[in-house]
């Protein structure tokens, strides 16, 4: 079967909305209700965060969601249990995002096998460098038809962007500014970088993430790329939600017109 991420970009090249949420947050068993609501109300892609004790690339909001999820009892094992059979209900592509240590401890091959069996389409591991991926893990990801999605930043050189583009599958995750997640840096300052990325005519679709928080920032990002990723703003929205479905509906309708 063609990877669902590729299927998505084959039919939709503009305004793709990817929403990040931490698995097991705000409550342990909210993972599937959140995913279901995201699909229902118009997210094109779901990025599920696997919580980690030491999330180096994350700002306070996602850090706290991670801590909360761990306190709730979330683990990779529990996540796979929760996800068993989810493909009967959820058809949008799903990406797991997490730091390398828990994946390494789980076993990279065992992890990939389990992802394939469960119906996961792609993985983002921000602290797995391209060189190590290429040397040690690429064939494993390919064997299970899992796309490894790499990040590029405003400081990434053109040569390296091209190399990353050649190793990435699914899409490229363009970090809007050199920062941890959830930083409010002015998006207008980043437009030259977005422009530069656009001109590179990369082979992979590009989604812009970090600092996308509302309709205005989403539209700006989406005008330069195939779409954008929202994380911190969504975590804030659902943190104290009494009704997940309603919260997700109003959040997404604030971003895109149905």
């Amino acid at each position: 079967m063609q990877n669902r991420i590729d299927q998505l970009f084959a039919k939709k090249q503009h305004g793709v909305l990817n929403i990040y949420c931490t698995a097991g947050f705000p409550q342990l068993n909210d993972t599937l209700p959140v995913m279901t609501a995201l699909q229902q109300h118009g997210a094109d892609l779901i990025e599920l965060g696997m919580p980690f004790s030491d999330p180096l690339a994350d700002g306070p909001v996602i850090q706290d969601s991670s801590t909360k999820a761990l306190q709730n009892g979330m683990s990779i094992h529990t996540l796979f249990e929760q996800l068993a059979g989810f493909r009967e209900r959820i058809h949008v592509p799903v990406i797991l995002m997490g730091y390398f240590n828990p994946v390494l401890t789980y076993g990279v091959e065992a992890f990939c096998a389990k992802c394939a069996e469960t119906g996961i389409d792609g993985i983002i591991v921000p602290d797995l460098p391209m060189a190590e991926f290429e040397a040690d893990y690429k064939p494993i990801f390919e064997k299970y038809n899992l796309h490894l999605i790499f990040l590029v930043t405003p400081e990434t050189s053109e040569a390296r962007i091209r190399k990353i583009d050649s190793l990435s599958k699914g899409f490229l995750y363009a970090v809007s500014s050199s920062s941890t997640t959830g930083k409010d840096k002015d998006m207008n300052d980043q437009q030259a970088y977005f422009e530069r990325l656009k001109k590179l005519q990369l082979t992979n679709p590009v989604l812009i993430g970090f600092g996308i928080k509302d309709k205005a920032t989403f539209d700006t990002a989406a005008s330069y790329a195939n779409g954008a990723i929202i994380g911190t703003a969504f975590i804030k929205a659902i943190e104290h939600s009494k009704d997940i479905d309603k919260t997700v509906q109003s959040f997404i309708s604030g971003i895109i017109q149905q």
């Binding site: 980690f52 004790s53 030491d54 180096l56 690339a57 700002g59 850090q63 801590t67 761990l70 683990s75 990779i76 094992h77 730091y99 390398f100 240590n101 828990p102 994946v103 390494l104 401890t105 789980y106 921000p126 602290d127 797995l128 460098p129 190590e132 790499f150 990040l151 590029v152 930043t153 400081e155 990434t156 050189s157 390296r160 990353i164 970090v175 050199s178 920062s179 941890t180 930083k183």
Partner: protein
């Protein structure tokens, strides 16, 4: 004095990919790649530049007060029936070995054109040493420190502030060294252009473990000369050092790594007992994984979550060890022991009363294992006395009446 540049093909030194055996590497998010890559490509060139070496050596001599003495501890030797020498890193300016590294890195930062410095600190010794060199060079300094450590090392917090540094509490996780390091790395991600991160131990992404080890290698370089002058033999039977991330141990071992007749002993913090659930004895409790962008041994759950360690000593309260040490452990080149909080306290009191030297809580862990080494009367033992105990007086006084 010079920085070890040519390390030949030692099997204990870093390889060209930044690994020690299967440990090491640079598992950094893309946001940090340019910074780390810049360091990787430039550090050896800068360190081997004669003008850099001159400046480094002059500061070590005139500002730090090197060479630090190698002191024959007569009464301690009588007690343990061996010849025990103390490498007096406690006599350095700022009171610990940490300054050897911060002098090196601030000179490097200048050559990289950086003007803002960040650092993590546990005991506060590295924070003080960083604040000191920043004052010396007129650079902005931000130090991250776990909020628990801010409490237990109050004098060092005051020193950093007096030296003009901004101390930012790390309030996540265990609120100790691991979390301070996370915050420093996050700061670096957010300030990629003008900032150099002065990491304080032989851990973190390549090239830090190697770079820090080279700056600290002055310790064993001096031991060799001093011991030769004192005993006619540059090789002791044992070199003993405590190990948090592993910088003083890396420095004390460095020039002996390939000398098989010298036994290397690293002492980890056993906390309340290795299996008490309150320990920082990484080699005994750890498995391979990634911590602070390095593949090394670390304490973690079955699910790959990093465990919160415990040690009475803030400088050893770290759930990992640097990759060089993981390799020394795995190859058996160094022996790894652990000392409990109580053993370290007893050793600190013992050194104070026998030799008139109040050691840092960290260094006391190394001293605590003298009683467990199978020493002969003609054995020569060098203990790296990594720091002085002023910062720990509160802890010592609290335990004085027990």
């Amino acid at each position: 004095m010079d920085i070890a540049i040519n390390t030949g093909n030692s099997r204990y030194q870093v390889d060209k990919n930044g690994y020690y055996g299967r440990f090491g590497g640079a598992y950094v998010p893309e946001m940090l790649y340019p910074n780390v890559e810049e360091l990787q490509t430039k550090y050896l060139g800068i360190l081997s530049d004669p003008s850099f070496q001159q400046e480094f050596e002059a500061l070590l001599q005139d500002y730090v007060g090197r060479p630090s003495p190698l002191y024959f501890a007569k009464r301690l030797s009588e007690k343990y029936k061996a010849n025990i020498y103390l490498k007096r890193e406690d006599l350095n300016h700022t009171g610990a070995h940490k300054v050897n590294n911060t002098i090196g890195q601030i000179l490097l930062a200048k050559r990289l054109g950086k003007h803002r410095i960040i650092a993590e600190t546990g005991a506060g010794q590295h924070g003080v040493a960083t604040a000191t060199v920043c004052a010396l060079m007129g650079m902005e300094c931000v130090v991250y420190m776990g909020s628990i450590d801010i409490e237990r090392q109050a004098p060092n917090v005051a020193r950093m502030k007096m030296l003009g540094a901004t101390v930012i509490p790390a309030t996540s996780g265990s609120k100790t060294l691991k979390d301070a390091t996370n915050e420093a790395i996050r700061d670096w991600i957010n300030n990629p252009v003008d900032t150099h991160y002065i990491l304080g131990t032989a851990a973190g992404p390549h090239p830090y473990p190697d770079m820090v080890a080279r700056f600290q290698s002055v310790i064993s370089e001096e031991i060799k000369k001093q011991l030769l002058a004192k005993t006619g033999n540059a090789h002791p039977d044992y070199v003993v050092a405590c190990i948090g991330g592993g910088s003083n141990a890396a420095g004390a071992f460095f020039h002996y790594l390939d000398e098989a007749d010298v036994k290397l002993v690293a002492v980890e913090a056993g906390g309340k007992g290795v299996h008490s659930g309150f320990s920082a004895a990484t080699t005994q409790l750890g498995t391979i994984g990634i911590i602070h962008a390095s593949k090394t041994l670390l304490m973690q759950t079955n699910d790959g979550q990093i465990v919160e360690p415990h040690s009475i000593s803030a400088g050893l309260d770290y759930p990992g060890i640097g990759p060089m040490h993981a390799h020394l452990y795995e190859t058996g080149r160094a022996q790894f022991l652990s000392a409990t909080d109580d053993e370290a306290l007893a050793a600190a009191y013992e050194l104070s009363l026998l030799e008139g030297i109040i050691p840092a809580m960290e260094s006391a862990h190394a001293l605590a294992k003298l009683k467990d080494l199978p020493l002969n009367t003609d054995d020569v033992v060098v203990v790296c006395l990594s720091g002085r105990g002023d910062k720990d007086l509160d802890t010592y006084i609290r335990h004085m009446n027990k």
